[in-house]
């Protein structure tokens, strides 16, 4: 029967952890750097096989051969790593590469011709290691030099790269330093029996860190899609197996102490573990979510909602820019009047007719500026839905005033076919409705060529106030028409694709309906029905 000492167990752990890592990089890595790294990982795996074999071997006759076999891996571990580092830092020096490969081939030859390991020796009452020659000492020194040089260059590279690559290189560096420190400790038993090669246990940490860096940060440009369900299943399987093991071990432990197996102790252990199992499972799921999936499903939904609100705000800011330019123009008229009347006041302060006109005009023009500024402020400030009676015609006049600048600039004619009931009113939030209609107008303006026309028709139907906004623009294809209210659907170069989706949301929020018809080359008609 095979007896597993710590050295053999560490070798086995290296085999278990490096084989999947090697296969992953081999099959998923496409670059030369990835291929070199795969060779480096394979060399470590080779050492893992060798060290496991050395650990379990009790036959003195094959001990020397086993060490020679294992050392082949050791020789190439730093060489492939250094070549990989040169590759990622874009150093094309063939000379450096040739020197390092040449020394590796020399030490390989020396190993195979028995110039490095002289004879086997039984160490720590546990397994056969070997007694080395002076060439082994040089080989060790060169091994350390290559490892150190590779890390120095890697750290220099780390300082000059962008953040995402930085995380990859930092983790890679931490992993390799741990691995090489562990590997270095394996050399010492060749010289002295003071230190047991426990360092071999550090090596698998290197592979775990690398695996994590690949999965999380796409090291070597390897991207692996981890399915949430698979990640959960694996972890829950591990927890479940640990759970069973703890129950079995607890049973054995108590059997050892009290001499017989107690169903009570087993049941109690099982119960205790059962109580902590679910919270533990939740914690593990939370940990996995945070590590690989940027948060739990609820957190991702919350982040998406915040993102959506942010986009709606940015869409609103875009409309505010249009409105502000409209307001800047609208304010010019009252400003002109105020300026002229103020200029003539000192000259005509005793003219009663002038003073009467002054009071009337100045007041009405100041009120107008105040109204315009309030309109923009109302529109800009975020507020919950505040429905109140709104005169739909006044609402449209306000929007059209805002947009007048655009209409004049693009020579767009506006035709208002308002319902004969001038006080046509609905119960709605005026600010939200302005946003909804504004988005339709902005789309119409974009669709219209010069001398285009927008017609606004309002009609009081039995249960609806029906509003039609019709343009003579380029129209929308049937295919696009089905997506017109989808968020992020846009055909404009600088559009967010949220305008009409926001409009749709607002109309629905008001228990209304919105419908669109369009003919390419002829124009588009939006029909909105709102409850009065």
């Amino acid at each position: 029967m095979i007896q597993l000492n710590p050295f053999a167990i560490s070798g086995l752990l290296i085999i278990i952890t490096y084989l999947p890592l090697f296969l992953l990089i081999l099959f998923k890595g496409k670059t030369r750097a990835a291929r070199l790294f795969a060779l480096h990982i394979f060399a470590i795996f080779w050492w893992g096989v060798g060290s496991f074999w050395i650990g379990i071997n009790k036959n003195e006759l094959i001990a020397l051969s086993l060490m020679k076999f294992a050392y082949i891996g050791v020789i190439f571990i730093p060489v492939f790593f250094y070549d990989f580092v040169l590759e990622i830092i874009n150093n094309n020096s063939k000379l450096i590469r040739s020197i390092f490969y040449a020394q590796a081939i020399y030490f390989l030859f020396a190993t195979l011709t028995n110039k490095i390991f002289l004879y086997p020796k039984w160490i720590f009452h546990s397994f056969y290691y070997t007694s080395p020659s002076i060439i082994f000492f040089f080989s060790f020194i060169i091994w350390l030099i290559i490892v150190s040089l590779a890390h120095i260059q890697l750290i220099q590279f780390y300082r000059n790269i962008y953040p995402k690559k930085r995380e990859q290189i930092l983790l890679l560096c931490i992993g390799t330093i741990i691995g090489f420190v562990g590997g270095t400790l394996n050399f010492f038993p060749q010289f002295t029996e003071i230190i047991y090669p426990y360092g071999n246990f550090l090596i698998p940490f290197h592979s775990v860190i690398l695996m994590f860096t690949i999965l999380k940060y796409q090291l070597l440009d390897i991207s692996v899609v981890i399915k949430k369900s698979i990640a959960y299943s694996i972890l829950i399987a591990i927890v479940s197996i640990s759970y069973l093991l703890i129950v079995v071990l607890a049973e054995r432990f108590f059997q050892g102490i009290i001499g017989y197996s107690s169903i009570l102790v087993t049941t109690f252990t099982a119960f205790l573990l059962g109580v902590i199992f679910f919270p533990l499972r939740n914690k593990i799921q939370y940990f996995i979510d945070r590590l690989f999936f940027q948060g739990s499903t609820i957190e991702i939904a919350q982040q998406n909602e915040l993102l959506r609100q942010e986009l709606i705000r940015s869409e609103k800011l875009k409309s505010i820019a249009t409105l502000a330019s409209g307001i800047a123009h609208e304010i010019k008229n009252p400003l002109t009047a105020l300026k002229t009347f103020a200029e003539y006041l000192p000259r005509k302060k005793d003219d009663d007719a002038f003073i009467n006109k002054f009071s009337r005009i100045v007041k009405s023009e100041v009120d107008r500026i105040d109204h315009l500024v309030h309109q923009l402020l109302d529109f800009a400030k975020p507020a919950p839905l505040q429905p109140r009676p709104v005169n739909i015609h006044e609402l449209f006049d306000d929007i059209l005033d805002f947009l007048n600048n655009e209409f004049v600039k693009r020579k767009i004619n506006i035709q208002k076919n308002y319902d004969s009931n001038t006080a046509l009113s609905i119960h709605a939030d005026p600010v939200q409705l302005k946003q909804a209609f504004l988005n339709i107008f902005l789309n119409a303006i974009d669709a219209l060529a010069a001398d285009g026309k927008i017609t606004i028709t309002t009609t009081l139907k039995e249960i609806w106030v029906e509003i039609m906004i019709q343009d003579t623009g380029c129209g929308i294809s049937k295919e696009d028409l089905t997506h017109i209210f989808d968020p992020f659907f846009t055909k404009k170069d600088h559009g967010t694709g949220l305008g009409l989706s926001v409009t749709h949301g607002i109309i629905k929020q008001h228990q209304g309906q919105i419908h669109v018809e369009s003919v390419v080359g002829k124009g588009t008609k939006f029909t909105i029905k709102l409850p009065p």
């Binding site: 010019k332 008229n333 009252p334 002109t336 002229t340 200029e343 005009i361 004049v408 600039k409 020579k411």
Partner: protein, 119 residues
Amino acid sequence: MSKKILICDDEEGIRESLKLILGDYYNLIITTDGMQCLDCLKNAEDIGLILLDIKMPKINGLDILKQIKKLCPSLPVIIVTGYKSVETATEAVKLGASGYIVKPFKSEEILATTQSIIK
């Protein structure tokens, strides 16, 4: 006082401002939209200058300008507007406008422009 100035603007504040500036020097005819303006032009005599706004209900100022130029090709028309865009100004000049004054204007600017036309 010889020739009259025809003012066409839908904004009371602007009409009153122009009256304040020009009233002491010229006979003024005040209209509030394009149709009125064209009617006055057909009926009144001795009109030496028109001050015309662009943004007005029913008919846009530039369309009125086209019709004025059809009726009286040599009659000077000054556009008084808040639109400071090169495109609108170019369009107005192409249609035959003699000048372009941007709101908010200065009284001296209005007086100097009108005086240069009606001497």
